[in-house]
Amino acid sequence: MKDAFGAPQSLLVLGGTSAIGLATARRLIARRTRTVWLAGRPSPALESAAAELRELGAYVRTVAFDALDSESHETALGKIFTEGDIDMVLLAFGILGDQGRDEEEPLSAVRVAQTNYTGAVSAGLVCAGALQAQGHGSLVVLSSVAGERARRANFIYGSSKAGLDAFAQGLGDALHGTGVHVMVVRPGFVRSKMTAGMPEAPLATTPDAVAEAIVTGLRRHSETVWVPGALRVVMSALRHVPRPLFRRLPV
């Protein structure tokens, strides 16, 4: 169960090797979290992430989960919920793709969309159903500012996150009053292995800062969290910039 400050006792990270997911898990273990499930494609990276969290004193289990294999989500995730309540699900998987190549090869663009959007829709719905049945819990969805307004430089990734963001907002409204809380997290440019080697955007942040914002959001029962918080103002201005001008902006 979550305590009065929204700190969960059990956590399920979808995308068990995600830097933000692991940073959040570390922070939550320092609070109340005792059980962590890391769901991801079986790999040495997943096991070493689990080992790292075990050292912090948590009981960690890994489970095979592939975002692209939507058919398996029901069974793979359903099994986790039968072993006990999950107080918080962190939907942290996603791929950035390579905009240049993706524009050339539609199939690899589809892979980005399927991972970030279709996979998240099926996993999100499975988890939402299970959380609803247990009458409590938080579903935290990692969206992105890239989904707020499509940019020339990464609109394939951006459009998948836009879809995910809209899905999560709607899901949050659908679950209002069921005891399940859905929180959409919109980080800006996050310095991590996913963005290694890319030119840094303004207001760049770190996985730890995102994790901190998630913990605060849980305490406040927030529905939307921007990281850093200033992005909320920046993006609400950018959203209203006329297209011809927006196209020319160096962002």
Binding site: M1, A4, G135, H136, T178, R219
Partner: protein, 449 residues
């Protein structure tokens, strides 16, 4: 029996969860609801005054007991009262005060049910004389996991597990209570100021035994030499002869006043450091240095907050976190350290109460133990409050003390075991009596009770 799906919180308005709410009107309906509960179990709920998650059951059933509210028999000669568990102490006062009987123990609110009072084994300002609520229970009817109804009497394991058992041994359906006789419905109150914590403890130690009711309001924002300055209010039920002639005509009238309802939306920063410090300053200065024999209404003396319906809203939408602990006699140093820490941290707590408990009570999970108890309420939005309270838990546990489960919404399961040494017995009894977990609550899940 009406059934609906509701989102519930405790009085502190934190951590809402959703459950199926049944409202049984008879014992049979309650038994049907318990037998029909799914794998997520059921828990009884009264008037929702437990601050934390004790009367919530996410995804399961919650039995709203307030429709089981009949007072069955009253023995006006001996003060024995048989009533349903959903009867509130308010109702009992309304009915029994005019007959010259008063509830044996009352907490800071009259809006608790008899079932809740036993389940949390509540205490009042008379704990040093009368002990906790369950000491005045002659017997009770308990609906257990098998759907049967048992009569439970003091001195049995089931009674001691149920008193303070937070509703996890079964649903209390009715109880026989021993009331205390009173001559009037007024209190004769002695008020005095204590300049600091040591002065307060000295005064309480020296003269508590002379008063039936005793507690002190403590200013936790005062710093330096004034740390722990307090106002002691101690009193007795006023005898008839001290009443003025006019009041003597209706000595047992029960007329609690009512102020306007707290608004539904209050900004959460209202009770900040400045406003609370100002309130505390005024409250302390307003109090007389020493005054005896002041006549107060029962409701003013015992339940000042009940005058404002929904007073819990003043903390705003995000709610508040109460904290109450007890440390034994001989651990005064721990108490001083904790008070100093709270005051150094400038926690805005405007209704902090310090009291001396008397002997411990038989309930396995009963909170009181001989020693000092301090209760405070803090806004849930205070930065880093979670960690601060964890640190206080450590202090309390190291000093051999404990925190109050009826007010808890954040304790660590590991710390709980250190605080309640009879927890293993409680778990064992529950495993035997309720192997499938028909009775569960958010509290029991969170703490692994």
């Amino acid at each position: 029996m009406s059934v609906d799906t509701v989102s519930l919180t405790g009085w502190g308005r934190t951590a809402p969860t959703t459950a199926l709410r049944f409202r049984p009107r008879t014992y049979e309906e309650a038994a049907v609801a318990v037998r029909g509960c799914g794998p997520r179990g059921s828990i009884a709920r009264g008037l929702g005054r437990a601050y934390g998650d004790a009367a919530q059951n996410a995804g399961g059933s919650v039995l709203d007991m307030t429709a089981l509210n009949r007072i069955r028999t009253i023995d006006a000669a001996t003060g024995l009262v048989v009533c349903d568990a959903g009867v509130s102490l308010h109702r009992l006062m309304e009915v029994l005060l005019p007959l010259g009987w008063f509830v044996p123990v009352t907490p800071g609110t009259r809006y608790v049910t008899v079932g809740g009072a036993i389940g949390a084994d509540i205490h009042g300002r008379n704990h040093h004389i009368s002990g906790s609520f369950s000491r005045h229970v002659q017997d009770m009817e308990l609906l257990t996991a098998d759907g049967g109804i048992r009569t439970v009497r003091p001195g049995t394991a089931l009674f001691d597990a149920t008193a303070g058992g937070m509703g996890l041994t079964g649903v209390i359906l009715s109880a026989t209570l021993r009331f205390q006789p009173v001559a009037t419905s007024l209190m004769s109150v002695t008020t005095e100021r204590a300049v600091d914590l040591d002065d307060l403890m000295a005064r309480l130690t020296a003269s508590d035994h002379r008063y039936h009711y005793s507690a002190a309001w403590i200013d936790l924002l005062a710093r330096g030499r004034a740390t722990g300055r307090s106002v002691l209010t101690r009193g007795e039920h006023a005898p008839l002869h001290v009443l003025p002639a006019r009041a003597r005509r209706t000595p047992l009238a029960f007329r609690p006043g009512q102020l306007p309802v707290a608004p539904a939306l209050v900004p959460h920063g209202l009770l900040g450091r400045t406003s609370v410090a100002l309130f505390n300053e005024l409250w302390y200065r307003r109090a007389p240095t020493y005054r005896i024999g002041e006549l107060q209404k029962l409701s003013t003396f015992f339940h000042p907050l009940d005058g404002v319906p929904h007073w819990n809203r003043v903390y705003g939408r995000r709610g508040f976190v109460p904290y109450q602990f007890v440390v034994g006699f001989g651990q005064e140093e721990a108490l001083r350290r904790i008070v100093r820490r709270i005051s150094r941290r400038r926690c805005p707590s405007f209704l902090a109460v310090l009291k001396r408990f008397g002997n411990g009570d038989p309930g396995w999970l009963s909170f009181p133990m001989p020693g000092w108890t301090l209760a405070l309420d803090l806004p849930a939005t205070l930065p880093d409050l979670a960690r601060f309270l964890d640190e206080l838990d450590e202090e309390v546990a190291t000093a051999g003390g404990r925190v109050y489960l009826a007010k808890d919404s954040r304790l660590r399961p590991e710390t709980l075991a250190a605080m309640y040494p009879r927890l293993p017995e409680f778990r064992a009894l529950r495993a035997e009596l309720d192997p499938d977990g028909a009775f569960r609550s958010d509290l029991s899940r969170r703490l692994g009770l």
